[in-house]
Symmetry: C2
Subunit: 339 residues, 2 copies
Amino acid sequence: MKQASRLILLDHGAGGRLSRELVEGLILPRFGHRALARLDDSAVLDLAAQGRVALTTDSYTVTPLFFPGGDIGRLAVCGTVNDLAMAGARPLYLTLALIIEEGLDLAELERALDSAREAAREAGVEVVAGDTKVVPRGAADKLFINTAGLGVVPPGVEVSSAKARPGDAVLLSGSVGDHGLTILTQRAGTRLDSSLRSDTAPLAGLVEALIASGAELHSLRDPTRGGLAATLNEIALSSGVGLSVKEGAIPVKAEVEAACELFGLDPLFQANEGKLVALVRGDGAERALAALRGHPLGQEAAIIGRAGEERPGRVILETRVGGRRFLDLPAGEPTVRIC
Amino acid sequence: MKQASRLILLDHGAGGRLSRELVEGLILPRFGHRALARLDDSAVLDLAAQGRVALTTDSYTVTPLFFPGGDIGRLAVCGTVNDLAMAGARPLYLTLALIIEEGLDLAELERALDSAREAAREAGVEVVAGDTKVVPRGAADKLFINTAGLGVVPPGVEVSSAKARPGDAVLLSGSVGDHGLTILTQRAGTRLDSSLRSDTAPLAGLVEALIASGAELHSLRDPTRGGLAATLNEIALSSGVGLSVKEGAIPVKAEVEAACELFGLDPLFQANEGKLVALVRGDGAERALAALRGHPLGQEAAIIGRAGEERPGRVILETRVGGRRFLDLPAGEPTVRIC
């Protein structure tokens, strides 16, 4: 006998008994931090060390909710963990806020929350505060998740998009376009190549390895929306340096390359959810590269370019065929909306 | 000549040039904290003092976006400030994440952001990190805002819904139902009584006054979703005490009373956005009351009841006509969805 699916009702978000059942039945068993379990409006946390904290937020509105290599739950945890890691911070605590469309299958919500829990374990962070809203059918697209994150920045670490300097090496931790092309392929309803998988992963360990290498870290970014091209442009613009990168040095998986050709897209503009770009002082480039390659998430890391004084604020791509062109910031929608 | 309205396009959320224009044109001029202005993925903040921090999050999905006494922007700032204040924390920093439906009028977004800025000023908090997503027409209801908040808990302050004790006095900072009935009346499209106004306000100053009074504070809650009834039940349940409150001592504005009669609603179950419930040790009740009344947001404060050992986990209402009944947690939707 097929079990009837249980659906989210407006009452699940109304602050009454059903809300309590949702939180106590679905949320607390997965994210059992004592601050969360007290169900107070705020989590109160002891920060072991005085000093600098990093704070970030991101909303996740991905369609479809589930895709090869991840889902909205894993994405929501990894994305915010990565934003903290890109500030050089050790991620500690997350908040998790759900906006659920009335009628969502509870099994889908449970699956997304399971993934979020697994990702939080992987990243070593705890979910300490949350919120659940249910909106009427048609007022949202199934499930949106917002996560905010708190981390601690170790003494001496000072990274920013504005801190790249001429002479810096540009490092990339692995292949680009995996996440973006996976989502696009799913959205197109095609099954082009079942080996396409999102790279969604928490990058805090990779950043820790980079810091431990002793290389002088200037800028760290994860090339999400707008892809590698947007990230390089942001660093060039914020730091007032010119960046020159070699197309041939940028790892792109064969299946991503193939999908890009089919859709007529450039992998450098496609989203990633488990890669980072690091600008380190030139003399530390090899040490930094070795540190990245020594980590499971950085095995394909490469030095892809260099920062210089020429053409400040711009990114120049040395193409595979030996040409040079500006790699400009996309005006709007880089491809199709995927996040 | 009528100015053509400018609408939000999907491209405003795509991470490219239009996204940058939205952030630099609309967000940064209003929330000019240097951490936000750097446009890095995380804000890095110096916490002056070591110790306990409070972290909270809430999503705001109110319909309509604008209402007498407030709007979604003011609500999103005050709600999160109040969640921090209810942990006894001094609110310091907020994150602000927008989910915008394609086609929203930019003027409406600007108005909501103006209100958010004003509320942040009032509350003494800074917006230090943000995120903007644009989803296709029909995938969201105009505008959702998530705010997360970080505050510092002063030494010695230990409040929680679980800390109420027999003998505590139950204080309420003012009239109930103002926010809920304002929203319901707006939604019903009626203009019953133009004097109905939401009470949306930041309560951090009121909490500061309460702490300064020297009364021993046990529990602090703002009775939002589910109203005063839900809040009292949560405290009774979490603390394992019985609460007894006098209906006649609970301030309700005449226009709220009238609207409740029209809709057939009980004001004790209606949402508030600028009121607090405090449980303080009995011997400090009068001092705490004086502190509340001395603050502009607490002029109508009252002692409305007492915590005891009988009927642990339950709330008993002494009605105006001298009866006694359980004031139970609503099963689901307390009235119509308003948040």
